[in-house]
């Protein structure tokens, strides 16, 4: 009994030092030397300012006025010249200034499969996605106009992390019509950028291919100038 207590006491201290301090420091050392870019989050700088991380989704909305809405923080509108990321369940106003795609307070939507609240949320996302496709004069950018049934699932369902950096190729192909028109670019040019920034499945089979939205939008800005 006494022996076990002594061994346990020494053991937990020594193992805390080894596994809780030495091991993470060792991995940090190796990572910072071998893959410093990755280890620090693949930060992207533009004109000396940090614009985000290559693998963290961000919102491409801008703030309208200084008024706060009752539930969601500042009023935000999508910036139509950018491809928009997936719906995000983050974005409570108390964390990080009320931005959706909050990468310091990630959360699921936890909306159930048979829940009215889920239907309402998805229907709202569908409506918002279709609204994106309307030009100021009311005509749709997408040939023939978007209908509910044409909206890709990833554009209507919120992501798991709330900061999904990718959208599906189908989603990007639809938004391409809008982005090309708003930016005055030929559609073929936008489409070729989409394929440039599409990540393939892992090893050719694992997971799904997806379009890296931040990189795609940065490439578009390089082409036609940003804001």
């Amino acid at each position: 009994m006494k022996r076990d207590v002594i061994t346990s006491a020494i053991g937990i201290v020594v193992l805390t030092l080894l596994l809780g301090i030495v091991y993470p420091l060792f991995i940090t050392g190796v990572s910072q030397v071998a893959f410093p870019g990755n280890a620090n989050g693949q930060q992207i700088y533009l004109h000396g300012k940090l614009v985000g991380s290559k693998i963290i989704g961000q919102s491409f909305e801008y703030q309208v006025g200084n008024k706060l809405t009752p539930t969601k923080g500042p009023l935000l509108r999508p910036d139509l010249k950018y491809f928009q990321t997936r719906p995000s369940a983050t974005g409570e106003p108390y964390v990080a200034g009320g931005t959706p795609d909050n990468a310091a307070g990630t959360t699921f939507s936890n909306l159930g499969p048979n829940s009215k609240a889920t239907e309402v949320a998805i229907a709202a996302n569908i409506a918002a996605y279709i609204a994106l496709d309307k030009a100021p004069n009311g005509t749709p950018y997408y040939p023939g106009g978007l209908t509910q049934g044409r909206v890709p699932v990833d554009a209507a369902d919120s992501s798991a992390s709330g900061i999904d950096p990718q959208i599906s190729v189908a989603n990007a192909d639809i938004q391409a019509y809008r982005v090309a028109a708003v930016r005055g670019l030929p559609l073929a040019k936008v489409d070729s950028l989409i394929s440039t920034y599409t990540s393939a499945r892992g090893l050719g089979f694992s997971g799904e291919s997806g379009v890296d939205v931040l990189e795609l939008n940065l490439a578009l800005d390089r082409l036609t100038g940003g804001s």
């Binding site: 985000g52 991380s53 703030q63």
Partner: protein, 590 residues
């Protein structure tokens, strides 16, 4: 559904088996004291640890001494972790709390401490809004290692009891722990962490970044020593995320490749342990029959989950969404799923982490379809024996093996024997208790939480009406009892109005009930397993005769699956009907 989705499943099974076979042989060498390839590297540290811990590795322990060491060491671990978490701001001098987070309140910390100690890793807190880097490393990461080690050594001790030829010793707890950490967990963790960083996981101590987004907003981005914790979280079937959304976070699971890789390393040790058992018992076919049993049930779960998720949910269809495959999108229920993981990668990941006691998630289980969500329920109801947690899965299924042998013996009217040892009243009593204690604990806690208003306070507002609220509650206590840790995450035990915990408070009822649920359903089965080891260790081995029931053929696999399904179904069917099954059978929205 897509061809790539099915290919993922079958390549996964093939690759897992190919890796687990040699690793199982290696682990057998580790626990029988043979020389291994890593002896030159770890022999020195091993002897150094024995010396400063004042352990004599040659000293064999009977099951009571083994259990006593294990319990006292666990108690020391609990106290240490609780202390570190509750004194979070004291460690600010290390510079490892750049966001200056306060400690979570006592009740949440009680739950979290019990959770990480028991390999459950149930989380009422959000990592990036609650924990300092110091707490994550020196507190939580350490128990990621140790709780995995405890699970593995109990399995090893039970194997020694089953195959033991002489005396009462079932090994030495301290030697088993140290050898597990050095020879099994350490090499895998280091390799995995480096692969993860290579793929895009982060590993740093910087404070959170502030980005100025292209459209003129600001975005705060959480940082931290993620890869080192992620690696052992998966290898040790722990599952507690560095971030709130766990393996859905791009820094924990950055690419479509890591999604596959993480699934592999979760199942590597549980699968290898089965082969190790075959090798140690002197008849590899004993391992193969158990492996086959597990694999059949695993594949069944994956297939059901994938088909259900690819079909889409009633809420999606009611909102007018088309959920079939179209060019550029695989459709399906993408609510709470990441694009890079996709439907197949999320469904299989979910099965992998709920058949094991891992409980990591790369998608929101609460948003799975009724049937897709019933799969993790069923996996938990099978008491984590389909591979199961590291060690826990093997010692639990060995109890089912003994039960199956006993039932088989009753059917043919012979004294049941397993590997030449007679299975008698004492062993069967312990086996029955060992098997039933977890379901009973889970159901008891669920009933208590459902029947009391203090319990219902944890149900999320979106699930307050209809069967979802019951599903949340049931899943919470089932997951904690099985030391899994995945969640229908709307269920709450911590109200956190802001990051950093100022003004936050825990829901005491859920925190304490969950904590006891985890502790009791972890240590009671461990004591029963060690008790069985002790009871079997001293038994004489009689040679197999013509009448001996074989436990290494197809007939036994069928019998074993039957026993597992029967016990799981009889204990959980009524409760399952009230929650996920109702949801799976109806298109009605609540």
């Amino acid at each position: 559904m897509t061809f790539a989705g099915w290919l993922t499943l079958f390549l996964f099974v093939g690759l897992l088996t190919a890796l687990a076979l040699p690793f199982g042989s290696y682990m057998a060498a580790v626990y029988t004291g043979e020389r291994t390839i890593l002896d030159p590297l770890f022999g020195g540290p091993e002897r150094w640890l024995y010396k400063i811990l004042r352990v004599n590795p040659e000293h064999g322990q009977d099951w009571k001494a083994y259990a006593k060491s294990l319990i006292i060491f666990s108690l020391a671990g609990w106290l240490m972790l609780y202390f570190i978490l509750r004194t979070q701001t004291l460690w600010d001098f290390t510079g490892l709390n750049p966001m200056h987070f306060h400690s979570a309140p006592w009740n949440v910390t009680f739950n979290t401490t019990s959770s990480f100690l028991t390999n459950t890793n149930w989380q009422y807190y959000g990592g990036e809004t609650t924990m300092s880097y110091f707490s994550q490393m020196a507190g939580l990461t350490v128990q990621n290692w140790l709780s995995a080690g405890v699970g593995i050594v109990v399995a090893v001790a039970l194997i020694r009891g089953i195959i033991g030829r002489s005396g009462r010793s079932i090994g030495n707890f301290w030697q088993d722990m140290i050898r597990t950490i050095l020879y099994v967990l350490a090499p895998l963790s280091v390799l995995t962490a480096i692969v993860l960083v290579f793929q895009g996981s982060i590993q740093n101590f910087s404070s959170y970044l502030t980005a100025h987004t292209l459209s003129g907003l600001t975005q705060s981005i959480a940082m931290g020593p993620v890869a080192s914790q992620e690696a052992i979280k998966m290898i040790g079937t722990n599952g507690g995320g560095f971030f709130n959304v766990n393996s859905a976070h791009p820094f924990e699971n950055p690419t479509a490749f890591t999604n596959f890789f993480e699934m592999l390393i979760v199942l590597l040790i549980p699968a290898a342990l089965v082969f190790m058992y075959g090798k140690m018992s002197g008849n590899r076919r004993q391992g193969y029959s158990i492996y086959t049993t597990m694999m059949i049930m695993f594949l069944g779960a994956c297939i059901v989950a994938y088909i259900a998720e690819a079909h889409g949910s009633p809420a999606q269809h009611a909102a007018g969404l088309h959920t079939g495959v179209i060019p550029g999108s695989t459709g399906g229920n993408m609510e709470g799923k990441e694009q890079r993981s996709g439907i197949a990668g999320s469904a299989i990941f979910d099965v992998v982490t709920t058949v094991t006691s891992c409980g990591a998630v790369n998608s929101a289980i609460e948003s799975f379809t009724g049937i897709g969500g019933a799969v993790p329920f069923a996996n938990l109801s099978a008491s984590e024996v389909i591979f199961g947690g590291v060690g826990t899965g093997l010692y639990s299924i060995l109890e089912y093996v003994l039960l199956a042998v006993f039932l088989g013996g009753l059917m043919v009217g012979r004294t049941p024997e397993y590997l030449g040892k007679k299975i008698e009243a004492r062993e069967i009593k312990l086996v029955s208790l060992g098997i039933l204690i977890t379901p009973l604990t889970a159901l008891f806690c669920t009933a208590l939480a459902t029947a009391s208003s203090a319990g219902r306070a944890s149900i999320s507002s979106a699930a307050a009406t209809g069967p979802q609220g019951f599903s949340e509650t049931f899943y919470a206590y089932l997951s904690q009892a099985n030391n899994n840790g995945s969640a229908f995450a709307g269920y709450g035990g911590f109200v956190q109005p802001n990051a950093g915990n100022v003004g936050s408070h825990g829901i005491t009822f859920a925190d304490l009930l969950g904590g006891f649920d985890m502790l009791f359903a972890r240590y009671a089965p461990i004591l029963f397993a060690l008790g069985i080891a002790g009871a079997l260790a001293g038994k004489r081995v009689s040679p197999a005769g013509l009448g001996t029931m074989r436990t290494d053929n197809g007939t036994f696999v069928v019998l074993l699956i039957g026993v597992i399904v029967l016990v799981g179904a009889l204990t959980f069917f009524p409760a399952l009907l009230l929650g996920p099954v109702v949801q799976g059978l109806t298109g009605h929205l609540y």
